[in-house]
């Protein structure tokens, strides 16, 4: 299964973190650091695969893609195929590109909840859910549309919030 989806910039600032097995914030920070250390040490024009068992435990590998200022990283175990994961990153990036027209780092920073929605449509509970960026786009747009239509209510102050105070 896929263990984590990480987007971070080349300075190591996380832009999107999604761990399919819970990691506390401190641990996440530490993992970020080790991943960055590994990736920044790799020259260009080498393979996109890194064995990550020193970081994420035995049998894990990561596939990364370096685009502009960002690293897109998928961490997974040996039930996945490296080349396929590389293409999944491609799907993810393509989808974002469709979403934002020429995606850049800032799009991701400002819309990271949308990023999460996209990732959720591609990967579900650590398994690949959808690999067509078109389909993912459709789903995301559908969500956006429905949310917008229900948006009008959201301006109503929430008088009943006390009800949940149990």
């Amino acid at each position: 299964m896929i263990r984590a989806v990480i987007v971070m910039n080349t300075q190591g600032k996380p832009r999107l973190l999604k761990f399919y097995e819970f990691q506390p914030p401190e641990k996440q920070k530490e993992l970020m650091r080790s991943v960055l250390a590994v990736l920044s040490g790799r020259p260009d024009n080498v393979s996109n695969f890194v064995e990550a068992d020193a970081i994420f435990g035995p049998g894990t590998r990561l596939v990364y893609k370096h685009l502009a200022t960002l690293y897109f990283i998928f961490v997974f175990d040996n039930s996945e195929n490296e080349l396929a994961m590389l293409d999944l990153i491609q799907v993810f990036v393509e989808t974002m590109d469709r979403c934002f027209k020429n995606v850049c780092e800032l799009d991701i920073v400002f819309n990271f909840n949308k990023m999460h929605a996209i990732v959720d449509e591609i990967i579900f509970g650590g398994q690949v859910l959808e690999t067509s960026s078109e389909q993912v786009m459709k789903a995301v747009e559908e969500i956006a549309r429905l949310e917008k239509s229900s948006n009008s209510i959201s301006f109503v102050p929430k008088a009943v919030s006390g009800r949940f105070g149990r």
Binding site: L17, F22, P25, N81, E82, L83, N111, A117, K158
Partner: protein, 970 residues
């Protein structure tokens, strides 16, 4: 500037983006200020300020919901940057209760990111999830499923399980898909809780929607991994699904880069690989579709290659088929010969595929030898590691030397401890499995120790010691002693290194103690001086010190036994004094033992420390029958008879001998054995005669019978711990206990630096390696002009088995006479691998693995020099020793000859206890008086006599011990 511009763009987008992009101004400001932060500290300050203000504002009553959403998003952001936002968790949980979809989704997003599945707040969400799973709005259902996937733990699965199962029949295929996957997740969490629902996965395999079918493959893959046999009936279905997919029977929307549903294909291939493994009948059903796939897969796209690779994996896993193997080999070679554009990824896959295929047919590697060697020298670390993995898999006795050599080079070049340990353990494993000669094994181990140091498992050190002690086993003893003296030589040389890992120092001390003076080449004083240097020069821990003092003791004993007088060197004396005052009772004990031993006459010393007897079995008189007389006498004199532990319970603190530590050491469960084994009460046992084996190191101390069984049961840790525990009670040194048990590691950092100093031959040699770029480690001085030839030779030595094998034998035989110096030996061992090497020194053909010490004869000539250099230091420090040292130096001059002439010494095998896994090396048991260490005393009676002698000789026991002793006697 650039950034500001984009932010401007972003703001513009935000205004048009509606609900999605419409983050608040404050959030944008936050992101912007973080983006502009000059330092990490500044960033932290900004975030902390933000968190503070959020903490205040989020707690205000009646926050508008829209605003609350913004707060939550900011919290998520803060937590992503690594700051604690736990105060906001409850608000995120509340938000999931909201009716509005965007808020609910934000709430779910936040809780899935914030909470672990055992967080206390989960209980507040379960109700909402239940409700949402029944919602009419499929998006709400999807959000709830996503949350359930992440947040529901084993205990709460039953609460939502019925709803999830209902959703398997939801009209929307997205929901069905997600429901299947949620169920899969539940299965991963707790297989038992959904075991009755597993049939649902089979059912969903026939779902009308291919996407749902694809989703079921994930749980089925897991299930089949667990239990292949229950799913054999599905082989035909899977094969036909794969066939249909490959024939583009699925809707166009499932195509990806012109490949029909590649992810489904990959999953199916993985499943078929599992099902077909070792099953001829099942495999037969797959052959057709596989050969179709091989034909259809286009290799131009990444995903096409992914499927192709999966086909290869499948072929290598199922029952072999010649035609498919050929196709797989062809595909693999395409990967390996990939054009440069994407080449690294494909080469990586190719190497991996090759590793799988050679399991079936080892010969296919030969065809790709040059490609493999290219990968080995690739700048890409991942590829290199993968290639080492491949080499590891294809190691045979014919190429082990080359491969291990390369691995060690790589080991030296990396500084990641994890991989260092990994490679080191592989080196060790290969060396142990395929070592062509013991000498080579020792050299290899030395190198591994030097460079990987304390990352190496201590078991390896013991194996090495045992090998040196046991020698060749069946061969003549001359070879054994030669092996030993070459080991001694190499260790004396290595000792010049500035920093050595403590494990390696232990080995060195042990070998020097056992065999340092065995061949008479080095004087006792010289070796003792070296050993004292060890403890001074290297900041060593107590374990190493214990090894060193034991080694000194052995040498002294050998000297005394041979009738020579042992002069106490001042440095040795000061070392001894230091240890006598040590905090560690272990060291203290050893120091006193040594002092006692020095007063013995030659016969006694010889008995205490028999020469070269480390391989003798220690006979254990479990019943301590030799004590019967003594006990009888004591009882007659009025001593209380021995009471078994159980009868003594509750008496006094002194009475419970080993129990507390026993339990502690053997950890998890209560152990009863220790109590169950009192001697038959007719033989009262007094816990006096513990036999100390402080010297032997490899032999488990045969303590009294109480916990003998225990030791065996709980192997290595318990043994020594227990023995020291026992002593600990008698010595009332409870606080010190832990130190004895676990050796500490002191010099792990030594690895990198140790290479750099050149003190002697070996190191100069390795420096050579270092200075070359790590890719071209071979003897590039000579080889540069003919790289391709070099590669071919390496290839030949790696892959061409038969030719080099015979060659090696020849050179091995020839190597023997000059095998004394490490250097010469190393190069010759290495040399032996490459085919076509002539034994003629004057014109050695290009040798791939000779690291730049081309002339073997140079090694012996250098060595004595270095040796002398090393000698001058101690010599100048110690006036009286000068003479002996000098002779030592002279001897070193013709060490070759000496080695040849050394009388064969006995080497017998079976350090039986050590090989059982009980490494009690650094511990010895304690007696209540400082007494003689009986090395491998075959007879405990002797030991007792000696003990008595020691006391007569006037060794004063430490203060309170005799009292205790009396206590015990009553």
């Amino acid at each position: 500037m650039e950034q500001l511009k984009t932010i401007g763009r972003e703001l513009a987008m935000g205004s048009q983006g509606g609900a999605w992009a419409g983050q608040s101004k404050e959030f944008l400001d936050l992101v912007k200020s973080i983006g502009e932060a000059r330092s990490k500290a500044e960033e932290d300050r900004i975030i902390l300020r933000e968190i503070e203000s959020l903490r205040r504002r989020i707690a205000e009553p009646d926050v508008p919901r829209r605003r609350m959403k913004d707060y939550i998003i900011r919290l998520v952001y803060a937590e992503m940057l690594g700051h604690d936002a736990s105060f906001g968790y409850i608000h995120a949980v509340k938000m999931t209760h909201d009716d509005s979809l965007p808020l609910k989704r934000t709430g779910y997003l936040a809780v899935t990111l914030f909470l672990n599945d055992d967080h206390d707040l989960i209980i507040l969400i379960i109700n909402t999830i239940q409700k949402d799973l029944r919602s009419d709005n499929y998006l709400v259902v999807c959000a709830a499923l996503t949350a359930a996937c992440k947040l529901i733990n084993e205990e709460t699965i039953p609460a939502v399980l019925p709803q999830v199962v209902d959703l398997l029949a939801h009209p929307k295929e997205t929901v069905r898909k997600k429901a299947v996957m949620t169920l899969h997740r539940f299965y991963q969490r707790s297989p038992a809780s959904v075991s009755h629902l597993i049939s649902n996965f089979r059912k969903r395999l026939c779902d009308s929607d291919p996407g749902v079918m694809g989703a079921t493959l994930c749980p089925l893959f897991d299930l089949i991994t667990e239990d292949v046999n229950s799913y054999k009936d599905l082989v035909a279905s899977f094969a036909s699904i794969l066939k249909q997919v490959a024939e583009r029977k699925l809707p166009k929307t499932y195509d990806y880069h012109q490949m029909p549903a590649p992810f489904i294909q990959i999953k199916l291939l993985k499943i078929l690989a599992l099902l077909g493994s070792g099953d001829k009948q099942a495999s037969g059903q797959v052959y057709n579709v596989l050969s179709d796939l091989f034909r259809k897969c286009e290799t131009s796209s990444n995903i096409g290659n992914a499927v192709l690779y999966e086909c290869i994996c499948c072929v290598s896993s199922i029952y072999p088929n010649v035609k498919l193997m050929d196709a797989a080999i062809e595909a693999t070679s395409k990967f390996l010969k990939a054009c440069p554009s994407d080449s690294h990824n494909l080469k990586y896959m190719g190497i991996d595929a090759l590793g799988r295929l050679i399991k079936i047919n080892p010969d296919i590697a030969e065809e790709h030898q040059l490609a493999v060697i290219d990968c080995l020298e690739d700048p890409d670390d991942t590829l290199k590691r993968k290639t080492f993995e491949l080499l590891y898999k294809m190691t045979k006795s014919s190429n082990v030397e080359v491969i291990v050599e390369r691995m060690i080079d790589y080991l030296i070049s990396i500084d990641d401890n994890h991989y260092k340990a990994d490679i080191a353990s592989r080196c060790v494993e290969l060396a142990e499995q395929f070592a062509p000669s013991n000498q080579w094994f020792i050299q290899t181990m030395n190198k591994v120790f030097e460079h990987a140091g304390d990352l190496v498992n201590s078991r390896v050190a013991h194996n090495l010691m045992r090998l040196i002690a046991e020698g060749f086993g069946e061969d003549d003893e001359g070879a054994d002693s030669q092996l030993r003296s070459s080991a001694v030589d190499s260790y004396l040389r290595i000792l010049g290194e500035p920093k050595l890992p403590s494990l390696f120092l232990q080995v060195i001390c042990w070998v020097l103690g056992e065999y340092g003076t065995a061949d008479g080449k080095y004087t006792a004083a010289y070796i003792i001086g070296k050993l004292c240097d060890v403890t001074e020069a290297h900041l060593c821990n107590d374990t190493v010190k214990a090894y060193a003092i034991s080694a000194i003791m052995k040498i002294c004993a050998f000297e005394i036994a041979a009738g020579r007088k042992v002069e106490m060197l001042p440095e040795c004396q000061s070392f001894l004094d230091e240890l006598s005052a040590s905090h560690s009772t272990d060291l203290q004990q050893r120091a006193y033992e040594l002092q006692a031993l020095l007063c013995l006459d030659s016969q006694a010393a010889g008995n205490v420390m028999p020469l070269d007897a480390s391989c003798e079995d220690v006979e254990i008189d479990k019943d301590l029958s030799f004590l019967i007389n003594f006990v009888q006498q004591s009882i007659e004199k009025g001593a209380n008879p021995y009471l078994p532990e159980s009868e003594r319970l509750g008496m006094s603190g002194v009475s419970n001998f080993s129990s507390p530590y026993q339990q502690e050491a053997s950890s998890h469960s209560l152990r009863f054995e220790a109590y169950e084994l009192p001697k038959p009460s007719s033989i009262p046992v007094i816990p006096q005669p513990f036999i100390s084996t402080s010297t032997t190191d490899l032999v488990l101390v045969p303590d009294t019978t109480y916990y003998r069984e225990n030791n065996q049961a709980s192997k290595l840790i318990v043994g020594p711990e227990a023995s020291s525990a026992d002593a600990g009670i008698k010595l009332r040194l409870d606080g010190v206990q832990k130190k004895w048990g676990k050796p500490t590691y002191s010099s792990s950092s030594s690895i990198t630096t140790s290479v750099e100093k050149t003190t002697n031959g070996v190191v100069a040699h390795q420096d050579g390696i270092r200075s070359h770029s790590r890719d071209t480690t071979y003897d590039s001085r000579r080889q540069q002009p003919e790289v391709s030839v070099e590669k071919q030779r390496l290839a030949a030595s790696l892959f061409g088995a038969s030719a080099s094998k015979t060659e090696k034998k020849a050179t091995m035989a020839q190597k023997a006479p000059k095998g004394n110096s490490t250097n010469a030996e190393k190069s010759s061992v290495v040399r032996s691998v490459s085919p076509g090497t002539s034994k003629d020194k004057t014109a050695p053909p290009p040798d791939l693995l000779d690291f730049g010490e081309p002339v073997p004869t140079s090694a012996p000539t250098i060595d004595p020099f270095k040796e002398l250099e090393g000698l001058i230091e101690p010599a100048s420090a110690l006036g009286p020793l000068y003479n002996t040292v000098k002779t030592g130096g002279d001897k070193a001059q013709d060490l070759m000859a000496l080695h040849m002439d050394t009388p064969p010494s006995v080497s017998r095998t079976s350090l039986s206890l050590a090989s059982e896994g009980t490494y009690s090396t650094d511990k010895s048991s304690y007696t209540e008086k400082p007494m003689i260490a009986v090395k491998k005393g075959p007879n405990l009676q002797d030991a007792l006599h000696k003990d008595a002698t020691a006391r007569q000789v006037g060794v004063t026991p430490t203060g309170n011990n005799p009292n205790l002793f009396r206590d015990l006697l009553g």
